[in-house]
C-alpha cells in the first residue's frame, strides 16, 4: 500500500567542527492524507531536523522521503512551512506578505484578480482581513502567527508543516490559535505535521502523536493514537478519560522513560566550559 507521506528509514548526520554528529537514525513514519500528526520530544531530539528534511530545506543522509509517491529532494510550495517566529518580511504589509507567496506560486495559473481574491480568502480563514494593510511590527505576536499560517495555507500545500507554531505565544492567544487551527483543519482537511513541546496541545489537536527519543541518533520512540471524536472542545475534554489517558501516555514517555539524563549532564558541562570563572 502506498502512503501519502512515506518517511522511509532516514538518517541525518551533520558535519561539525568536532567531527560528524548523527542527529537522526532510522526514522520511519507513514502518514495518511488528512491526518494531523504531532511530533513531540525533548529539546535537541531532532524534531526540527525531521521537519526540515520533509520541507526539503535539508537533505537526508540515507533513506528517502516520498510525498504522493514522489521523492522529496528540494523545498517547494507543496510543503508549506509555518515558522516558529512567523518569518514575515518586516518590510511588506500583511497583504503583501501573503501576496509574495501567492504571486510566486500561482504566477502561471491565476490572474491578478484571482490572486487578490485568493489572498483575501486566506486572510479571512485566519480572521485577519481587518489588518491587511498593517505592517508586521504593528500587529501582535498572535496576529503575526495567524498571517504566517495564512501565507502557508495560501500556497495550497499538500502538506502543512508547523514548527512549534504557538511556542512563542502567551497561553490565551495560544488557545485561540489552536482552536482556529482545528477549525481550519476540519474545513480544508489538509494533512498537517506539527512540532510541539506542549503535551496538551499535542493531544488536543492530533490524530496521532509521534514521540521521539533523545539524540544523538534520535528516532521514533512510540506512537500514540488519539481516537477522540472531532470537533473537539478543550473544556469538555479536560474531564475526558480518553483525553487524560493519552496525555498520561505522552507524559510517561517524556518524563519517565526518556528523561534526557545525558544531555542534561553535557549541558552542565558546556555551561562550565563556557564560564571558566565558575569553575
Amino acid at each position: 500500500m502506498q502512503h501519502f507521506l512515506d518517511i522511509s528509514q532516514i538518517s541525518k548526520t551533520f558535519n561539525t567542527a568536532t567531527g560528524t554528529y548523527e542527529a537522526l537514525q532510522n526514522v520511519d513514519l507513514k502518514i495518511q492524507q488528512g491526518e494531523f500528526v504531532s511530533l513531540i520530544g525533548h529539546s535537541g531530539c531532532g524534531k526540527s531536523t525531521v521537519l526540515n528534511l520533509i520541507a526539503g530545506l535539508l537533505d537526508v543522509t540515507t533513506g528517502g522521503i516520498f510525498l504522493d509517491g514522489k521523492q522529496i529532494d528540494e523545498p517547494g510550495p507543496d510543503r508549506a512551512v509555518v515558522f516558529q517566529n512567523h518569518a514575515l518580511m518586516p518590510w511588506l504589509s500583511v497583504y503583501d506578505n501573503i501576496g509574495l507567496a501567492v504571486r510566486a506560486v500561482f504566477k502561471k495559473t491565476k490572474n491578478r484578480a484571482e490572486m487578490d481574491a485568493w489572498i483575501m480568502h486566506n486572510l479571512e480563514l485566519v480572521n485577519m482581513t481587518h489588518a491587511k494593510n498593517k505592517m508586521p511590527n504593528e500587529i501582535s505576536g498572535g496576529m503575526k502567527q495567524r498571517v504566517g499560517i495564512a501565507r502557508a495555507l495560501a500556497m495550497q500545500p499538500k502538506l502543512l508543516l508547523m514548527d512549534e507554531p504557538f511556542g512563542a505565544l502567551d497561553a490565551l492567544t495560544r488557545a485561540q490559535l489552536q482552536d482556529s487551527t482545528m477549525e481550519i483543519h476540519r474545513e480544508l482537511g489538509n494533512t498537517v505535521i506539527m512540532i510541539t513541546h506542549d503535551v496538551d496541545e499535542a493531544v488536543l489537536l492530533s490524530d496521532r502523536i509521534v514521540m521521539m527519543s533523545n539524540g544523538p541518533a534520535a528516532t521514533v520512540g512510540q506512537v500514540v493514537d488519539v481516537n477522540l471524536p472531532r470537533p473537539r472542545n478543550r473544556l469538555a475534554l479536560a474531564e475526558d478519560a480518553q483525553f487524560n489517558h493519552c496525555r498520561r501516555l505522552v507524559l510517561d514517555f517524556l518524563y519517565a522513560a526518556h528523561t534526557p539524563a545525558e544531555p542534561q549532564n553535557s549541558e552542565v558541562a558546556d555551561l562550565k566550559a563556557s564560564r571558566p570563572e565558575a569553575a
Binding site: 508549506a80 518580511m89 510566486a104 505592517m135
Partner: protein
C-alpha cells in the same frame, strides 16, 4: 504682531523655549572653540604673517563671495560684447561665419566647490554601481566571497595617492577622443575617488546580505522565488541599513580622497584652490585656505546628512534611529 506669533508658538506646544534650551549647549561649544582659536592663532607667527583668526577668515569668506560676483559680471559683459560684435558682423555680411568663444576667466571659489561636488558625486555613483552588486554577490555566495575577500583586504588599505599616477597614465592612454565629453583631469579625480569609495560599500553590503534572517531565506526557498525576485524582495530590503552604512562611509572617504587628489594632480576643485593659495603666498592666503578647510568640513557634513535623508526615505523601518 509679535505677541500674535508668540501665542501661535505657545499653541504649538511651547516649542520655542525647548528649542532654545537644546541649542544652548552647542552654541556654548562653538563660542568656546572660536575663543580658543582666536587666542591660539594670535600666538602663531608664520612667514605669511599671523595665523588667521575667526574674523580674518570671515573677511576672506566675504571677499571670495565678492570675487565670484565680480567674475560673473565680467563674464556677462564678455558675452554681451561678443554678441554685439557678432551682430555687427552679420549686419555687414549675412554669410559671415561667427565664432562663439567661452569666457576663460579664473574659476572662482564657488566654481571650485561645484567642480569638486560634481567630481565626488560622479566617482561615488560609479563606485556604488560596482560595489553594491559585488557586495550582494559576495554575500549570497560563500565561495565567491572567499575568492574575492583576499583581494578586497589587500586593496582596501591602499592610499588614494598611490593610485593617482596609475589612473592618470591609464586615462591619458585609453581615453582618447577629439571631442571629449569629460575633461581628463575630471576623470582622473573621479576614478581615484571611485577606487577608494568601493571598499566600505562592498564590505558592508556583503555583511548585510550574508546576515539575513535564515527563516526569511527559507520562506523564499519554499515558495521557489527566482533569484532576481529573491534579491529584490528579500535580500535588498533586509540589507538596506548596512548598505547605507557602507555608502555613507564611502562618500566620506571619497570626499577626503578627492581633496588630496586635486591638490596633488592640480585637477580643478577645492584641492587645487588650496594648493594655488599656498603657492600664491599672499598675506590673505592662510585665511583663504582656512575658508576652504571649513567649507570642506561643512560640505562633508551636508553630504552625510543628505545620505541620511535618502536612507530615511528608502528604508522600510521608519522607526529605526539613524545617526
Amino acid at each position: 504682531m509679535i505677541t500674535a506669533s508668540l501665542n501661535h508658538l505657545k499653541a504649538a506646544g511651547l516649542r520655542l523655549p525647548h528649542l532654545a534650551a537644546r541649542s544652548i549647549i552647542p552654541i556654548l561649544g562653538i563660542s568656546l572653540f572660536l575663543l580658543v582659536w582666536q587666542i591660539v592663532a594670535a600666538n602663531i607667527d608664520t612667514s605669511l604673517g599671523k595665523f588667521p583668526g575667526p574674523s580674518q577668515v570671515w573677511q576672506q569668506t566675504k571677499a571670495l563671495a565678492d570675487e565670484h560676483v565680480q567674475q560673473r559680471a565680467k563674464a556677462a559683459k564678455f558675452y554681451q560684447r561678443q554678441e554685439e560684435r557678432n551682430a555687427k558682423k552679420l549686419a555687414q555680411d549675412p554669410n559671415a561665419t561667427i565664432k562663439m568663444r567661452a569666457y576663460t576667466g579664473k574659476p572662482t571659489f564657488w566654481d571650485q566647490i561645484l567642480t569638486s561636488l560634481i567630481t565626488v558625486m560622479f566617482g561615488f555613483a560609479l563606485a556604488s554601481c560596482v560595489a553594491i552588486p559585488l557586495g550582494i554577490i559576495c554575500g549570497l555566495s560563500e565561495r565567491i566571497y572567499e575568492a574575492v575577500n583576499p583581494i578586497i583586504q589587500v586593496l582596501k588599505p591602499v592610499s588614494p595617492l598611490a593610485w593617482l599616477p596609475l589612473v592618470t597614465m591609464v586615462v591619458s592612454a585609453v581615453y582618447v577622443s577629439d571631442d571629449p565629453l569629460f575633461e581628463k583631469s575630471f576623470l582622473n579625480s573621479a576614478f581615484t575617488v571611485a577606487l577608494c569609495c568601493l571598499w566600505p560599500t562592498v564590505i558592508n553590503t556583503t555583511v548585510g546580505v550574508s546576515s539575513i534572517d535564515k527563516d526569511l531565506v527559507d520562506v523564499g526557498r519554499v515558495i521557489k522565488l527566482p533569484p532576481s525576485t529573491h534579491v529584490a524582495k528579500i535580500v535588498l530590503p533586509s540589507s538596506i541599513p548596512l548598505i547605507f552604512t557602507g555608502l555613507r562611509l564611502s562618500l566620506a572617504t571619497g570626499w577626503m580622497v578627492l581633496i588630496a587628489a586635486e591638490m596633488l594632480a592640480q585637477n580643478p576643485g577645492l584641492g587645487k584652490f588650496i594648493w594655488d593659495e599656498f603657492q600664491n603666498g599672499s598675506s590673505n592666503s592662510l585665511s583663504r585656505i582656512m575658508v576652504a578647510v571649513l567649507t570642506i568640513g561643512l560640505i562633508g557634513f551636508l553630504l552625510d546628512r543628505t545620505m541620511l535623508v535618502i536612507q530615511r526615505r528608502i528604508s522600510w523601518d521608519k522607526q529605526a534611529v539613524l545617526r
